[in-house]
């Protein structure tokens, strides 16, 4: 028999309190109001007092409403029928399709044993030169995309979803605007990858708390697929909204805030999600790309700062391009040695020259006289930005490397670059 309470003692923020016994920590309950019902989760037990966060928000809840405990923690279905489906932040269908009730799995399961992980070594090709050439994405990597609001991070995520060589894509949206949601849906449908994508969509119109579940739902499903040998790409956007939802609940629960109002366990909360990125020994993998918008373009803000310590590098999206400086894929060394032998040299050589271009550009803007060498650099920089950095460029790695040599040859003499003679002989055009 399930416990039912008909008296809500307190309502504060999105947290309600009831008095009952025999309830398990993190158990789910259903709150029925005159406006419909919502799931809620136990977040604190104190004697007979049970604190629940209500996913649909506490607005409109009456003290006389019914709280029915379900006797189990949050679960999500797992089935191949979920591919091509859209769910909300409670794991319920959003697309008018049937609910998935088979094979229910608990979300936020135990962490993977480090000794069952393998050293990552397979590249995920995206056909974006700034990623493939300069900061290769590696299977099982976790990388955030740091950007300010207004940057085309949705476009970038959608492009990676369309082009990445993976078996299954899980797209988790947290606090998205409705048009962002429609954009993803439309782009993935038109791109023909919809049938191998699972959406967990929480929009800004939905109650905040519901967004808290999205990463866990997405990753629990991804993990199951990975254990079945699938290469899964999880795209999350926007993790700053997730952190803000955590903050909201923490403040309601009167937790002592640590930094700018965020709870002291922000690092652990983010880490337990990002650390689900894994390459299992003898099975599949999970790769995570997550948009983290930086309030005020401030990388020392607690959310990007904590994220940076957790993830394996980051992509900075600025002025519609992936910045070569600051962006880093910590795992690229594991893959770029096996692609083509000029890969590493082109990667370093082109960036060094681009950094010199930036210096020359600075000199130019300050009105200093331009030497012949400076002019060469300016020419190089412009070509580099147009043919490598522009996010519209869509070419495989090998083509990008060839283009790199072309650009170099158009601007410099071989000895003006820093390449080894052996590479120059083989790759220098003409």
């Amino acid at each position: 028999m399930r416990k039912v309470c008909t008296r809500i003692l307190s309502i504060a923020g999105n947290v309600v309190t009831v008095k009952t016994s025999g309830i398990a920590y993190e158990e789910l309950a259903e709150v029925s109001t005159s406006r419909g019902s919502s799931l809620a989760q136990v977040i604190r037990l104190d004697g007979e007092m049970v604190y629940l966060q209500v996913f649909a928000g506490a607005r409109g809840i009456s003290t006389g409403d019914e709280v029915r405990f379900l006797g189990h923690p949050m679960k999500v279905g797992f089935s191949y029928n979920m591919l091509g489906r859209i769910f909300n932040g409670s794991g319920q269908p959003r697309d008018k399709g049937p609910a998935v009730t088979e094979n229910m799995i608990e979300i936020a399961g135990p962490p993977a044993n480090p000794s069952k992980r393998v050293i990552p070594g397979r590249m995920v090709r995206t056909n974006i030169p700034m990623i493939d050439v300069f900061n290769s994405l590696v299977e099982s990597q976790k990388l955030p995309i740091f950007s300010v609001s207004g940057e085309p991070y949705d476009e970038l995520l959608a492009r990676i979803a369309l082009q990445a060589e993976v078996d299954i894509i899980v797209l988790g949206g947290i606090g998205l605007k409705y048009d962002q949601y429609m954009y993803f849906k439309k782009t993935l449908e038109e791109g023909g990858v919809f049938s191998r994508t699972i959406f967990f969509m929480h929009t800004a119109a939905d109650p905040t708390v519901e967004g808290l579940m999205v990463p866990d739902l997405s990753l629990a499903v991804a993990e199951k697929f990975a254990l079945e040998g699938k290469r899964v790409l999880v795209l999350l956007t926007d993790m700053t909204n997730f952190a803000d939802a955590l903050k909201e609940i923490a403040i309601t629960m009167e937790q002592v805030p640590s930094n700018r109002g965020y709870p002291g366990d922000l690092y652990s909360q983010l880490a337990s999600r990002y650390e689900k990125a894994v390459d299992f020994e003898g099975a599949g993998s999970i790769t995570i790309l997550a948009v983290t918008t930086m309030p005020g373009d401030d990388v020392t803000h607690p959310v990007p700062d904590n994220t940076g310590y957790i993830t394996e590098g980051q992509f900075y999206l600025r002025n519609g391009r992936i910045e070569p400086f600051g962006s880093l894929s910590r795992l690229k060394q594991l893959v770029n040695k096996d692609t083509r032998k000029d890969h590493r040299a082109v990667m370093d050589g082109m960036i060094q020259l681009y950094s010199k271009y930036r210096e020359a550009e600075e000199k130019r803007s300050m009105g200093f006289r331009m030497s012949e060498w400076d002019k060469q650099l300016l020419r190089y920089g412009n070509l580099f930005e147009a043919q490598m950095m522009d996010l519209k460029v869509n070419i495989p790695l090998e083509k990008a490397l060839d283009n790199g040599w072309e650009i170099l040859a158009r601007c410099f003499k071989p000895e003006e670059t820093n390449f080894r003679t052996e590479l120059l002989e083989e790759f220098w055009p003409g």
């Binding site: 920590y25 962490p111 002291g264």
Partner: protein
């Protein structure tokens, strides 16, 4: 003794409140019995008949009224032969065994024995019948890898005991009796090769603590030369993300000149631990000719594992390190990262509703950090041998700002500060230790006068470089420009080191002395150039040759040839 038990009255995150009757001990281990599982927990606060416990597992599913069983023992680790080469979680559960038994995920509520009870060890007795012994005295030895593992009298036997009997030479498993001891009151105690020690209490079975004096060569030039670490000393490495803290610790753990390295991966990425634990068994330690793993223990409590176990993991690591120090060995404990450990304390303190200090860290943050680093030390053991434990901790300051509580509390208690800089990391200057901000209170391998010359050049060079940003190269005097070139030269050829190159990754002390003397020669040299262009060309040329020199095997013929080239270039000026 009937086990004491209690009932859960509240659950809040990883903290539970338990109502109990009888006597319990602060920091004792208890088990929450829920859903057929036993979740390990530790008593962290007692108030009347309520005990507050931090649970080392996820608390999902715990109910009010669940039974809690108190063990009567403080949180302890098991000591004995067989620890080396192991990979443990923060509570000393062996992770590879876990994987063998439970598969890809860490099971909840499971404990495995830290060392094998089946394995046989070749025991050679040292003590004799009638010997007077006390905690830490050596009863015998067993070979463990390249080391002679000392079998000691358990450290909590503080009185003087008389040896009644010692097992003869032979093979024994760790739980077999190898000695019988009698205390002054005539009570007899049986000793085996293994015993427990509570992790939060420092091992003190030694005669005296000495002043750390001898440098500990890490073979990282900027550390050994400019900011040395002493055997038995402490140091910290704060740095923003991406500055290369973990890489620096990995390189140190490979090349450092100590007997044993204990790596505490505390709340960091699992991926990095995987690299260490998959590669170390393959890397041969040139000093012993055996796999590096044989001198290493990894305590791995990554960021996704429960936070309370993270708090304990650094103590687990410190206790294992102290145990090997008791054998007269030099041990280095690398903790990465102490900020995660401090954050774990903060989380627990918040749940206890303690009055928060700065940035919500508990008021006792400073004293906890201090007492952790105080577990380091150079000690004289009962039999006169010397052992040392050196502790190096990384810090991940929020926003990369060193003015935060963890960095500041640590700086008060450590002997050396290796501050990493984001600017240097982004300019790809590795190791990215800031040569202007860092310091060390220990004496190093290089004479202080030489160090002073080098540091003066670095400071002046920085001044000139700042000035040049305003007035441009044109506005700088040739004299100042040469100072700038010298400082850039010192940085490029000596302070930077290529961690991916086999030779350059590790520079021994004799080589450091030799090369640094030559670098000092250049720094002191009076050069006359007709213009800046000529000066720049000369120094770039010299730099190029020096860097090539760094890649040559020490004392090889290529090393000599390259040196001659440098000498002739210098003579020309």
């Amino acid at each position: 003794m009937s086990r004491l038990s209690g009932r859960i009255t509240a659950v809040n995150g990883n903290m539970v409140t338990v109502e109990f009757r009888g006597d319990i001990i602060q920091n004792e281990v208890a088990y929450v019995l829920t859903g057929g599982k036993r979740l390990k927990a530790e008593v962290i606060k007692i108030d009347g008949s309520n005990a507050f416990l931090q649970v080392f597992e996820y608390t999902k599913g715990i109910k009010i009224g669940d039974e809690v069983e108190f063990s009567g023992k403080m949180l302890s680790v098991q000591l004995g032969p067989g620890l080396l080469g192991q990979i443990y979680d923060g509570l000393q559960n062996p992770l590879p065994e876990m994987a063998r038994e439970f598969g890809s995920f860490l099971p909840i509520g499971v404990e495995l024995s830290a060392i094998s009870f089946d394995r046989q060890w070749e025991f050679s007795p040292r003590a004799r019948k009638g010997d007077k012994v006390t905690g830490g005295s050596v009863l015998g030895t067993v070979p463990e890898g390249v080391f002679e593992h000392k079998i000691m009298v358990p450290f909590d036997l503080y009185a003087e005991y008389v040896v009644e009997e010692v097992a003869p030479e032979g093979s024994y498993s760790v739980d077999k009796k190898i000695a019988r001891l009698k205390d002054p009151a005539g009570k007899v105690i049986d000793a085996t090769m293994t015993f427990d020690w509570p992790v939060k209490i420092p091992i003190d079975a030694y005669k005296e603590k000495l002043h750390p004096r001898d440098p500990l060569p890490t073979r990282v030039r900027i550390i050994d030369t400019l900011f040395p670490v002493a055997k038995g000393g402490t140091y910290c490495i704060p740095g923003p993300f991406g500055a290369g803290k973990t890489v620096l610790q990995q390189i140190t753990s490979r090349h450092v000149e100590v007997d044993i390295v204990i790596i505490a991966a505390c709340g960091e990425r699992a991926g990095e631990v995987v690299e260490t634990l998959k590669k170390f068994p393959e890397i041969i330690d040139p000093r012993t000719g055996r796999a590096l793993m044989e001198r290493t223990i990894i305590i791995c409590n990554t960021s996704s594992m429960p936070v309370a176990a993270r708090e304990s993991s650094v103590y687990t690591a410190a206790t294992l390190a102290e145990y090997y120090r008791q054998m007269g060995l030099d041990v280095l404990l690398l903790a990465d990262s102490t900020s995660r450990w401090a954050q774990a304390m903060r989380e627990i303190s918040g749940r206890l509703e303690e009055i928060p200090g700065e940035e919500a860290y508990p008021a006792y943050l400073e004293s906890r950090i201090a007492s952790f680093y105080e577990r380091s030390g150079l000690v004289r053991l009962h039999d006169g041998r010397i052992g040392s434990l050196t502790i190096g901790g990384t810090i991940s300051p929020a926003g990369g700002n060193f003015e935060e509580p963890v960095t500041q509390s640590t700086l008060k208690v450590v002997g050396a500060f290796h501050g990493l800089s984001r600017d240097r990391a982004e300019a790809r200057r590795f190791p990215s230790i800031d040569p202007l901000e860092s310091w060390s209170k220990y004496g190093g391998v290089i004479a202080p006068e030489q160090i002073k010359i080098a540091r003066d050049i670095l400071f002046k060079g920085e001044e000139v470089s700042q000035m040049m940003k305003v007035v441009g190269e044109e506005g700088t005097s040739l004299e100042d420009f040469v100072v700038y070139l010298k400082s850039d030269f010192l940085d490029s050829v000596y302070l930077q080191q290529n961690g991916f190159d086999e030779v350059d990754a590790a520079t021994t002390v004799p080589r450091q002395k030799y090369v640094f003397a030559k670098v000092i020669g250049v720094l002191r040299g009076e050069f006359s150039f007709k213009d800046k262009e000529e000066g720049r060309d000369f120094f770039y040329n010299l730099r190029h040759r020096f860097i090539d020199w760094n890649y040559k095997e020490w004392e090889s013929s290529e090393f000599k040839t390259q040196e001659n080239e440098i000498d002739s270039l210098l003579k020309g000026k």
